[in-house]
């Protein structure tokens, strides 16, 4: 499965990445190589093998419904590029 330039443009749009012309070209080649590498898996005969949802054979892990202490607000906000004392600040979100 070859990666095309259009694939890279679409994925970069979904990931909100602004790529230069050169980057798009480099990434088309590099992503193509990655996908080709992973694509080797399709050589394995999986007829009659149930699809796996998880890498470990564990299920039904639950926590009880108990309120635990949350982060102090200053700490929660500390890494944000921009914030005021109440919340995170981002460029205007309209029509959400």
């Amino acid at each position: 499965m070859a990666i095309t330039r259009a694939d890279v443009e679409k994925v970069s749009l979904l990931a909100r990445l602004q790529l230069s012309e050169t980057e798009i070209e480099t990434l088309t080649v590099e992503l193509g190589k990655i996908v080709a590498y992973v694509d080797q898996l399709s050589e394995v005969d999986t007829d009659g093998v149930a699809p796996m949802a998880h890498a470990v054979e564990v299920s039904n892990v639950f926590a009880s419904d108990e309120v635990k202490t949350s982060l102090p607000r200053e700490q929660a906000l500390a890494n944000a590029p921009s914030h005021n004392p109440r919340g995170y600040l981002v460029p205007p979100v309209l029509g959400g």
Partner: protein
Amino acid sequence: MSQTYTTIIGLEVHVQLATDSKLFCGCSTQFGAEPNTQTCPVCIGMPGSLPVMNREAYDLSLKTAVAVNCEIPEFTKWDRKQYFYPDLPKGYQISQYDLPMSANGYLEIHDEKDRFEPKRVRITRAHLEEDAGKSVHDEQAGTADSEIDLNRTGTPLLEIVSEPDMRSSAEARAYLSELKLLLTYLGVSDCNMQEGSLRVDANVNLHLDTDEGKVATPIVEIKNMNSFRAVERALDYEAQRQFRVWQETGKKIGDSPKQTRGWDDAAGITRGQRSKEESSDYRYFPDPDLVPIIVTSEQIQEVKDALGELPADFRNRLIREFGLSSYDTDVLVNQGREVVDYFLEVAEHCDDAKAACNWVTQEVLRALKERESIISEFAISATNLAGLIQAIVEGKLPKTRAKDAFELMMVDGIDVASTVDRLGIEQVDESALESLCQELLDANPKIVADVQSGKPQAVGALIGQAKKRNPNVDPGRVREICLKLAQQE
């Protein structure tokens, strides 16, 4: 060109489940806290944090799914839905994609006023997912930044998706009311729309019969409806708008992508929003941080057995056991579980279930409404109301004084025996009643003459006088006796 169309409606309802803590971490789900005080590394997506499934959230969703007649697959898992939005700190939402926890259910709807035939609305699926945060944009400030509050991030939601089985805004409203009622009976959510505990998105388009055969208009998803009334209005508006656009452009389904429109309640119109990304653009994949859930048929059976009576069961029982009309039954059941329980207790303690129903649906509900109160805080206990009804049945309390007694019982919270004492109600014995009537007839020869000349309604004037003399008299008896005595004269 055809002038008629059928409106095709499907609804997506997001219900916030009534847990104390979030879906994958221990932060509180309490509404109304100071912004960003209920977050932790898990729900704000810090690297290295690990989500763990909240057992109560799963149990509540299982209960709901069973109650809406869904099939529960043995195996369910969690997936990541990827999209970028400032209120989604991880860059993905933990949701369920190809193996939801339930599917293929249904909900029966009917209309109190019989505006549509009772019908079964199929439910495609119900799945669990986490909520996003909230962005607040200061309109006044214009270009200023938006502020993000992540308290709601990670709150458990059950998304209930219906098939496009509804054909009018009235049917959509009935579906929502019935679903909300069911959820409240189950106690799985408070369903408070103002606080966002219940959110509705609608998918709507039109089917038209034209000269070239059946035609469908492009599907529109309507968001931002904050009340059931808003849903009704938005659907009515949107159907008309789509018909108009179809007449103008002739655009059919497939000619343009699915559109998302927001409802503007003040303006009473829908407005176009960003066009919907294709489902594959969310690039779902299984969440490696969460393990799947396997549920046995025994567990599902246990949940079914523990459901208790639901609104539909109560409606059937009230009609069957007490002979109530379906209208009265709806009034009682739609008031919620507590009112039904109150009625059942009243009915159990008196010999007139129909009267019990009338008292509850009329006087009690009116009194609650006037006081903006709820049944659990009502001053007349169910047994006291039953006592009042029984006193009427047994003739210890004249019907004419029943409302006075009710008012007094409500103010003082006393039982009917004390009330009868306090009101000075005595049974008027037959001879006293006869002599009272005779006195009145003697004082009003004209009325006697009228009655004798074939105008029995003339005694009406005497009833008021009799009540003035003795408030305990039964007007019906006064009428009977006066007529009898007048004829004898």
